[in-house]
Symmetry: C2
């Protein structure tokens, strides 16, 4: 993510607010990733889970439950289940994308093999459902099973939509809901459901997570082109090289003249890219204000996220969640 430390304060404050609960989530994760018969399962899982991800998704579940004054234990289960689903998704994504690095370390598919990544992902997915069953709530099972289906649906859609210039902003939003927003919204929503939130509150928690996830992903898209200023940096252009139809590109394609269109057809659809093409892509994006327009969209989604929180109880955690929506877009401020 390339988080600037001073900007990450809202995340740190939220992290502090749920630190005790997160310690229990981590203990539960370690317990449930174990396998009596197959030691490779905890090895592969630990490689990823203990690589120091931000635990943003389980944090959202814990925050939602805390904001609603939940005094039970099942938010710990749900947060661990959400992290297991996320980890399973990462393991499978790295196989699908043939990735070699994740969180600054070699990927599991590289250190072990694709087989282990596929099967350990399946194992974690199954264990996540066992964690949910223990809560006794069919509704959270419904929410998280639906999110899981949406995640894989979004990934399949991305497979077929990627490199296709017909991909429009509607399809983009469906892909992003799958890639990011579905698990964000399921994380907040299930935390609310287990805490006995009202229907209006449950809907608000869903909308918050959904909007936060979409904002988060658009920001990633913009940063991949070096931010609104379009400055080439260390990790600039990965999406372009992978020929992904991200939001800035979709906006630029919609406004392309014949010459620009030929450029996108060659570089994205046909994948014929030379060393100067990233700079040329960034020039075209700038010409149409596509990065700025995508940034505006991200800000609008962040505002929607903040706005959704209004019906939720006035609680210190609510303010932190509101700040988190600003934080997510502060990376392109």
């Amino acid at each position: 993510m390339g988080v600037n430390h001073s900007l990450s304060e809202p995340l740190d404050r939220l992290s502090d607010a749920v630190a005790d609960e997160m310690a229990r989530v981590n203990a539960l994760i370690r317990d449930r990733m174990s396998s009596r018969h197959a030691p490779r399962i905890p090895e592969v899982t630990a490689h990823l889970v203990e690589a120091g991800g931000k635990r943003m998704r389980p944090m959202l579940t814990l925050a939602a439950a805390k904001m609603l004054g939940y005094s039970g234990e099942y938010h710990i289960n749900l947060a661990a289940a959400v992290e297991f689903i996320h980890t399973a998704t990462l393991l499978h994504d790295d196989v699908v994308d043939e990735s070699r690095q994740r969180r600054g370390r070699p990927t599991a598919n590289l250190l072990w093999d694709n087989k282990s990544s596929v099967l350990v992902g399946d194992f974690l997915f199954a264990r996540s459902f066992l964690l949910m069953v223990e809560t006794g709530s069919l509704r959270v099972l419904d929410i998280l099973a639906n999110a899981s289906a949406t995640i894989s649906e979004g990934e399949v859609l991305q497979l077929t939509a990627s490199q296709d210039l017909k991909t429009d902003e509607d399809i983009y939003r469906q892909i992003v809901r799958g890639k990011t927003a579905a698990l964000f919204s399921a994380a907040t929503e299930s935390g609310g459901v287990i805490a006995g939130a009202s229907e209006a509150q449950v809907r608000a928690l869903h909308d918050y997570g959904d909007a936060l996830g979409i904002a988060f992903q658009i920001v990633d898209d913009v940063l991949d082109f070096g931010g609104v200023a379009a400055v080439i940096g260390k990790n600039t252009g990965d999406d372009f090289r992978e020929r992904k139809l991200t939001l800035p590109v979709i906006k630029a394609v919609a406004q392309a003249d014949a010459r620009e269109r030929a450029f996108w057809v060659r570089t994205i659809e046909k994948g014929q890219q030379g060393p100067e093409d990233l700079a040329e892509a960034m020039t075209i994006l700038q010409r149409h204000g596509a990065l700025e327009a995508a940034r505006e969209d991200a800000l609008a989604w962040a505002a929607r996220a903040r706005n959704a929180l209004k019906v939720l109880p006035d609680h210190p955690v609510r303010a932190m969640l509101a700040d988190l929506s600003d934080f997510v877009v502060s990376r392109v401020a």
Copy 2:
């Protein structure tokens, strides 16, 4: 499987007994494999689901519910969920094993790609849990989530145990429970639970499926070496070439003299196989009666399956399930 038609009568009778229900299962499968956004999902699923598998696992769920006089609708959901889990497992297995053929057709990973197989498998897995949520029974969710975890655990164990001559009959049984028996027993058990079976009946249904699955897998192992007579045929020796520690090999390794041990180390552990080695492996298996001993084990498991049915209601389907256990081993009779 290479089923001789006259021998398949018990399966046909069972299939006829639940034909109406299976038609509804198939309709539900078609409905739930659809995706509004990603048409590739039903394409990939249909390729496998409609290739004419025997639907043995959903048949077991329907049979269990019918035997217990169930009059509700949820056995249809569970049978479809069981078939989705099975299909997801096959899609992922074919990626893991780099298979090129399944049910006489090219595999999905070959026709599309590994990515689609991984992601569509994930989608079906998620949808299977949604089908279970609709039944309102946390207990069937628990049973099938546990089975799913056991399946991937068994597959990971097979990854690490394969090619390792230290694999003994205990490890073998754990692998087989994962590969086959876990879903068989979850299929029968969940059918009983949804029908309101007593605890003793639920246990009996679990034990039946478990024993049937183990017998089924051992028979496959024996057939892979051409049956007890060890006759080289069209599909003989796949497991040997893949260096799998199947039950006949485990039994022969346990009795190997120094020369034989060197043979197994070379062919299985080191994977150095020449054109004469399959015939030599079969000679060694014959020398120790390893195929015959494995067949005896299969017969014993089939007898256990039949025996488990005793506490279940006297019903035409019960007799069919009993015959099915004989049918499974009749392939090596």
